[in-house]
Symmetry: D3
Subunit: 259 residues, 6 copies
């Protein structure tokens, strides 16, 4: 599998999934769904480091690049996830260029940053880790507040920033809107367009948290790193669909394959 | 919430869900889906006792009856799941009346069985556990082999058996068929009909592992304890649906609610 | 169950328990003891996030409001506990108004704070989480140093602070006293009185870590959020009492109920 | 610390505690309470092997002998607990001499039994494990049914049985009584006396699950292995006592030591 | 990677490692050491199912076949490990042909056995699991007692047995020898030769638990499935070597690579 | 066992081991290897707090002082490890005197620092914890960057700093060298000499991460706190040695002791 950074350098658009259930089994299912990345959500997902350790190889084993959203812009936890197997880091609530620099510093070894060396989990997976891998790690600050929107040019021009990830719910709350995709509200749409434009001007990849049905629209808007759905959301979608079928009059007549 | 046994005594049909992901968060989602039971699959689900302990209250907290499929017809593990919160026990691979008696014995206190007393997990949840609760625990042997089919009358007439649960995959393999719902194969359908008839003759509830689309048909056949889907299956269904939408041309235009 | 904030608005005094053992079973016992809150101690208790995830529903299932003491005044970990089910946050070592503001910001969505949205664990437990729940979360800085004492007026008048929680051991050490309830030392008593008075002047609830025997005195002093005991302390009390009885000459004659 | 077997050979009476909370911290507290043994309850306690592994050294570190009650009379799980650190095994529901022999076989290496060699956890704790330790492991079948009572002579005369442990709740249910210590019922008392007498006649130690207040009476009856209380019970006792004090008018005035 | 069964059909000799530390990180290191299999020791290793779940993909991800030693010859736990990812099962203490048949039955679907279908963990890793995988699972009873030695012809001629695994420690104890490799005792050597000969006569692979230094000798004796060392043993070897170097006078002068 | 601080006051040189595998079993092995300390690596080791809780008593039970490297210079996590049993704290990436002061403050109670009181895990292990233990906790900032090197005099003269720990890999990267022990590069050697000299001038113990073969040289350079090897490194050394023996022609002939 190519790293996200290699794919982006090649001009590709990448689609991914979100792992918010703390579980290596469901993580492995996501890793076999055929998309470009699976992001373990260590912020809002109910996932802690102990469990994430087992989820990284489960995802990678299926041929998909594992990345992490960390709980906060803090170098200790960023380093721990990089050492365990994250090939990219999504950092929440980056509001200024200084915060973007801190995120980069936590992800890159000197002289490009200040990450501490000790890749205990990942070193065995790569030949000559230090020589080959650092260049493949994607640094992805989130832009999800009005303040960040105002600083978006400075954030995207921070050296070492590879992509920007929009959190539509937080951005909406910050705009005084309910926590949803408010594509029917011009202010929301303009905010997304501003972010995409800033990214495009600086060679940075615009990314966003999406849903299945919204993804075509996000592609059209120019986003190139799009999370299609999360495990917990897909579980809800599947449960609803299956229960609806169970309660319908016209059930199918059988021959389901069970695995 | 009424126990399965109370519901069955009242003549109700019960629908349920299957928890095969070892995770209290997804278990709680299943427990809030509005069906009658959630069964933690300690046999084929990748769930162990340590994790199941936290899943029982998560399910019950949502107002749904938690039950367990145990890995095997063994009194030690059956007792442990009853003590932790299972309000019913599905026992795999019960092929004879003797095995059905052993399953009953493991679930009921003397003089109706040989369960050992010590309800460490559930006692705080019930007032006067010993006086009130034992009568609510559902004992559910699985009939899923040709041998069991031949003994089905003896199994269903074993005192203390409340319901029978059919595993269509194992039953199919035992019949020389692939592990699926082989409703297009007369031998498979006749087996199900034989089981339902035996149950109905002896006041035992016929149950079966199903899917959303097959459930109406199973209801029509007379099953009264039907598992509509499993978390891992629903997750797969949801992922497939969301990814398909993401890749379609005609994505919706937004306003998804995020929670 | 009413939230702590609703109870305080109604003028009620609230009693609670402290969960410092990392265990959903003992947490559920605390949640069924009939008090107003159970606080999971993620600072000094040997509890980590992975375990706390299962303790929140276990407490709430028993009808008691779960809250958390976080290890430090850090927005990442505060958000994670709110997402997992804490209905209130006790923040240790808040020494200045600025630190109190940071604590509030981590607990409230914009425009009242800067919490990030994604209530993965709790959203299923509440209808319309964003509309209804944020107003119920209690923000409770700890005042437990001489520095904080000097800034107590500024801390209690910080918008969004609902209660103050006194840590008597840390306050004592800061005053040059041993880590205990030094009610026989005037300086200690005056410190508590100063805090209660400041709270009362600003409509903030005064709270304190207590013991069973000290609670009547704390009530008398005006405290309205009082932690009666901790699980580890109560376990020690119970062990001591039972072992003393075992070693006495005059043991009772039987008929103990076992559950 | 001397092993239980050494203590019994020396004619000592031994008192112990019961660990039914899955937690190394509370286990360590029990191990420092100054009694002779702590038994991890892997049957009714909500404890699984993964957690027990950490509880054995926590107990032993405090200078107390750790033993285990296993979920059932099954050689696989008995061996796993011996390898992890149990210095004695309490086996539930032993009803016949054959079952007692099976329990002994699972605990002793050939030629005295059939235990498999591989003391992965305990070997580092002992010098020359195979030469010195097997002789110290206590084999303790439970007599807790009417059937076992009828076979008690055969059970206590089974070679390799060191002690008998009475489960008063199960014994009571088997006698048609409620699950408690029924010392006011002659049939219950006679059963205990029968077991003590049989043990004394064959040089086997009579043991029983007790409570603090009942222990003096059990000592008087001749029991020499007496579990004084369990962690979950003591926690309940302590909570009740502390909450009662909190609600009384005459609370003490302070100076509680906090640790 | 080829399965053990395919390798054996091709006439290959296979070397492997033993995972007795419950840890996905060390398991992954073993899986990258370049041998043919890694066996998770669920009997004497301090490993439980919850942890093993994460160790299977960690081993397989490194390109090595994961197998399991189960705690006992019990179909419930055998099925759980097959569902989680074991591609072969080593069954301890198989003393008779009946016990060998039971081991085979637990590993194979009808009509070759009685395994229950539900490959929750492994199905996503294989295309068409039921059609392709069952034929690759290796069934490996252990011959490690005098009784088994007497029945070795019957055991190796049991249909479905692929290999025999000798446990030298248990075999030695059963022979009245200390638990070691007693190659200096003719009785021990003859026992190994008897087993190898019986295997060779029936087209079954002879296997044995070995050490690095003994492996050449075991190869010479005809063994074709040889476990070279265990993680806990290798850790001890490495610690001893490093500490010895640290204490020597003539330490090297540097330039160690750290990963 | 004497604390590190007591040993250093007595002028002793201390050797230790590094625990980077999250596992109480291997931690206990390290604790029985006879060196002076075992450091749990919570930064680069794949260890989280939940697991570390069980590793502290496992190490101490074997008679060795447990210490911790924390993920970052953050008071919340430092306090949690001190409460769980760390008798010393290694703090990564301390670059200035201010950062060294912060590290000291997080480790010491007032008036020497700002640690919060609540030694839940360790209080039972010590009599009168507050009176006796704080003086034994070792505070050990890491000097591992060019910036820290420039500030080394200020760092070592910060009151409360007991030792300095050099991370050769990070120091090398910061110097523009590959992450190894670059003893063949004068700049690297001079950096070590500068640190040792600064320590010696201020009565601070110089420490360093080493390997077995490098330790004699580090002793000669004046280091007095030397980590000889890590569990993951020793495991690799042992695996390599055992596999090499297995593949050699001249294997030994037997009689290996298995435990």
């Amino acid at each position: 599998m190519d790293s996200l950074r290699d794919q982006w350098r090649a001009g590709n658009t990448t689609l991914g999934l979100w792992a918010s259930l703390a579980n290596p089994t469901s993580a492995e299912m996501l890793g076999r769904a055929g998309l470009d990345y699976v992001c373990i959500d260590n912020q809002h997902g109910l996932v802690d480091y102990t469990t994430a350790i087992g989820m990284y190889p489960a995802i990678a084993y299926g041929g998909t690049t594992p990345i992490a959203r960390v709980p906060w812009n803090e170098p200790g936890i960023i380093g721990k996830h990089l050492d365990a197997g994250a090939q990219g880091i999504i950092v929440p609530m980056v509001n200024t260029a200084e915060e973007a620099q801190a995120a980069v510093a936590a992800c890159r070894y000197p002289p490009h940053g200040a990450r501490s060396f000790g890749p205990a989990g990942v070193a065995p997976r790569y030949r000559d880790y230090f020589d080959n891998t650092p260049d493949q790690i994607a640094v992805v600050p989130m832009v999800e507040t009005v303040e960040a929107l105002g600083n978006v040019e400075a954030i995207v021009s921070t050296p070492g920033v590879d992509a920007i990830y929009v959190g539509p719910a937080d951005l909406s709350i910050s705009l005084g809107l309910p926590p949803r995709n408010n594509d029917d509200v011009p202010e929301f749409v303009e905010a997304l367009e501003t972010i995409v434009a800033a990214c495009q001007n600086h060679g940075v990849v615009p990314g966003i948290h999406s849903s299945g049905s919204l993804t075509p629209r996000r592609l059209e808007m120019g986003f190139r790193m799009i999370t299609v759905t999360a495990d917990a959301v897909a579980l809800g979608v599947g449960l609803k669909a299956e229960i609806a079928k169970a309660r319908s009059e016209d059930g199918a007549t059988g021959s389901d394959k069970m695995y």
